[in-house]
């Protein structure tokens, strides 16, 4: 009896990951000097462990569901999830060329939107102040480089 298709999918996904680890392990060399085992030994153990655990979870999923799982009633809301994800991807793309402040502001605004904020101007303003504060704290006080990007002319030679 299958209670949750997600549990089945996750269990099989874990088995698949284990098989993937095993496949890569097969390409690793096995010679290991005095120890008699090489860099492929522990990966093989880990691959076997993941496959066995995934299979075990699959067995549980097919026989009444994962054991001792707490009830979970809340419905999945796709829009907030996607806003947060979009913010993280925007940040990933922007940080290298637009700089830390722009990327941080975009991330901040997207996440705030995902958590239900509709006040875009307020969010961007807070995000800008917050990112600038962190930027100067890290670059000036902690001496950690962060990319200035588009704002390099304004921020001066503080960043890279």
């Amino acid at each position: 009896m299958v209670r949750s298709r997600a549990e089945v999918a996750l269990s099989l996904g874990i088995v698949a990951l284990g098989l993937g680890v095993a496949a890569v392990t097969a390409t690793l060399p096995s010679e290991g000097g005095y120890a008699g085992i090489g860099p492929n030994f522990i990966p093989a153990v880990v691959a076997a462990g993941i496959i066995v655990l995934g299979a075990w979870l699959a067995f549980e999923a097919f026989s009444g569901g994962w054991r001792k799982a707490p009830a979970h009633d809340a419905a999945f809301a796709p829009a907030p999830f996607l806003w947060v994800s979009a913010g993280l991807f925007a940040h990933m793309v922007l940080i290298g060329w637009a700089g830390f402040v722009v990327a941080g502001t975009a991330l901040f605004a997207c996440v705030a939107r995902g958590f239900g904020s509709r006040r875009v101007a307020r969010d961007v303003a807070i995000a800008l102040v917050f990112s600038l504060a962190i930027y100067f704290f890290f670059v000036q006080l902690l001496n950690v480089n962060l990319p200035a990007g588009w704002l390099a002319p304004v921020l001066g030679g503080a960043g890279i």
């Binding site: 996750l10 290991g32 008699g36 860099p39 001792k68 799982a69 809340a74 809301a77 902690l142």
Partner: protein, 496 residues
């Protein structure tokens, strides 16, 4: 008395003005971030790791000790006022603490938790000072086989203790072990699972995994399932001071909880979760006011909070003397040591006396700073709690991504972070504990090194793990721990 001399020397390090300042900064930032709802000690330490990149190791680790303690204290404030335990070790506090706050006694609840944390933290640090040199002497006799057996023991206990299901705990552990394999093999220089990506050759940093699981995963989870839930915060009404009766009921609870918490912290039992519940149960049984439990009994806050802090200090015993982290937070602290090329363990006590004893001395100082700082500043921490959820998670993610990006200044780390975020989301949703994964990542490569060293010494003879008495004993205990629950279920009379 050697320990006392070493400790005095440690104080001369910890009390240097710059180190004192780093301790103060650490405690303040740790409390500030730890107060944020949804941010537990592990995430606080992981997010603030990037602050110390340019510090000298001693200053950085002193700051970390401050962050560690501050985060613990900040978490209990949130638990009492918001009833959202940021981590499992705070659940017991939430039971009575939030009830006290609802009944208008938030002040005494916060006070007993702050003073109790100070008392327990200080006693536990004294115990750490006394116990650490003894464990170091013992650990000097350990060879690779013993270390490997000890690590396997830690893996199994942590995976079976954390969370509701041993299978899911072990799954989390093995996912962490796999992530730990990524990068260059330290013995042979062979690249493994890096797929030619330069950022992966270094291995996955524990910060990326921890921040991904705890911050990104949590944000995705809360966004998807709880973005419309509004939490109500209890106001602090009346005095912050504890009455004479509060004192009388609190101090025995603090002491009992310290006695429970410290030993539990030193063994690999997943940190502070079990001792806080044990302390709660003990106080409920011993209290002269059992009828108050469930409606805001002060012993029910004093005990678990003290147990939490004593255990948090106890965790430092295996971390510093053996290099074995027994909680997710300790695993991240170990990562901080490794960033400086330091490997905690008995040799560190010899080679880096200043650093180790300066760190231990700074724990005493940190406890005092916390006590002085927190009760007067409680008004500020309450303001932090009023930050609305949308801005809160936005800010957390900006800090979280910064922590990952500052490692290599590369977007690859940010992509890795998102992948771990998805993993953390799924683990949170389907009740897979994340602690074992973090411990597996950091301890896995160390265990592999010891395993292969032991086999090198024995010329490939695997019986070495079973013929050395310490190693054999540890492996026997581990096997027993795996088999015992199963046997117990089988042999139990089937009346239920």
């Amino acid at each position: 008395m050697e320990a006392l001399n070493a400790l005095m020397h440690g104080f001369s390090v910890a009390l240097q003005p710059m180190n004192l300042l780093w301790g103060l900064v650490g405690v303040t930032l740790g409390t500030f971030v730890g107060v944020l709802p949804g941010v537990g000690p592990a995430l606080t330490v992981a997010m603030l790791l990037s602050l110390t990149i340019k510090l000298d190791p001693t200053g950085a680790l002193i700051m970390f000790a401050g962050i560690y303690y501050g985060a613990m204290f900040g978490g209990s404030t949130t638990t009492i006022l918001l009833n959202t335990p940021g981590e499992s070790a705070s659940i017991a506090t939430a039971l009575e603490g939030n009830k006290m706050a609802k009944a208008g006694r938030a002040g005494p609840a916060l006070a007993t938790s702050a003073i109790g944390s100070f008392v327990a933290g200080t006693i536990a640090t004294v115990l750490l000072t006394l116990v650490a040199p003894i464990v170091v002497d013992l650990a000097l006799k350990f060879g690779p086989a013993e270390y490997f057996a000890l690590m396997v023991f830690a893996f199994i206990t942590v995976a079976s203790v954390l969370g509701a299901s041993t299978v899911r705990g072990l799954t989390s552990l093995f996912l962490g072990l796999f992530v730990g394999l990524i990068g260059i093999d330290s013995q042979t220089g062979q690249a493994r699972f890096a797929f030619g990506v330069p950022e992966l050759l270094d291995g996955v940093d524990v910060v990326v995994l921890a921040v991904g699981l705890f911050a990104v995963g949590e944000a995705l989870y809360v966004a998807a399932y709880q973005s419309r839930v509004v939490e109500t915060m209890e106001k602090i009404k009346g005095s912050l001071l504890m009455s004479a009766a509060d004192w009388r009921r609190s101090w025995p609870a603090w002491l009992r909880a310290t006695a429970i918490g410290f030993p539990f912290g030193t063994i690999p039992a997943g940190g502070a979760e079990i001792p806080t519940f044990l302390s709660y149960a003990a106080e409920k049984k011993l209290s002269r006011h059992p009828e108050e439990f469930g409606r805001g009994a002060i012993e029910g806050v004093a005990g678990p909070e003290a147990a939490n802090n004593a255990a948090a200090t106890g965790v430092l015993v295996p971390l510093l003397t053996l290099g074995i982290p027994t909680s997710a937070t300790a695993a991240i602290l170990l990562g901080a040591f490794q960033n400086y090329g330091l490997q905690p363990g008995p040799l560190l006590f010899e080679a880096q006396k200043d650093l180790v004893w300066g760190l231990i001395a700074s724990l005493y100082v940190g406890n005092i700073i916390l006590l002085i700082l927190n009760l007067p500043l409680i008004g500020i921490w309450v303001k932090v709690l009023e930050i609305p959820k949308d801005l809160l998670y936005a800010g957390i993610l900006v800090l979280a991504t910064l922590g990952a990006y500052s490692l290599h200044q590369s977007w690859i780390d940010l992509l890795t972070l998102y992948v771990f975020g998805l993993m953390g989301f799924a683990m949170r949703r389907w009740d897979v504990p994340v602690g074992p994964a973090v411990i597996g990542l950091i301890l896995g490569p160390l265990a592999e090194t010891q395993f292969r060293r032991a086999l090198s010494i024995s010329q490939g003879d695997a019986s070495v793990f079973f013929t050395q008495p310490i190693s054999a004993t540890l492996l026997a205990i581990t096997a027993f721990l795996i088999v015992a629950p199963w046997l117990y279920r089988r042999l139990k009379p089937t009346s239920s």
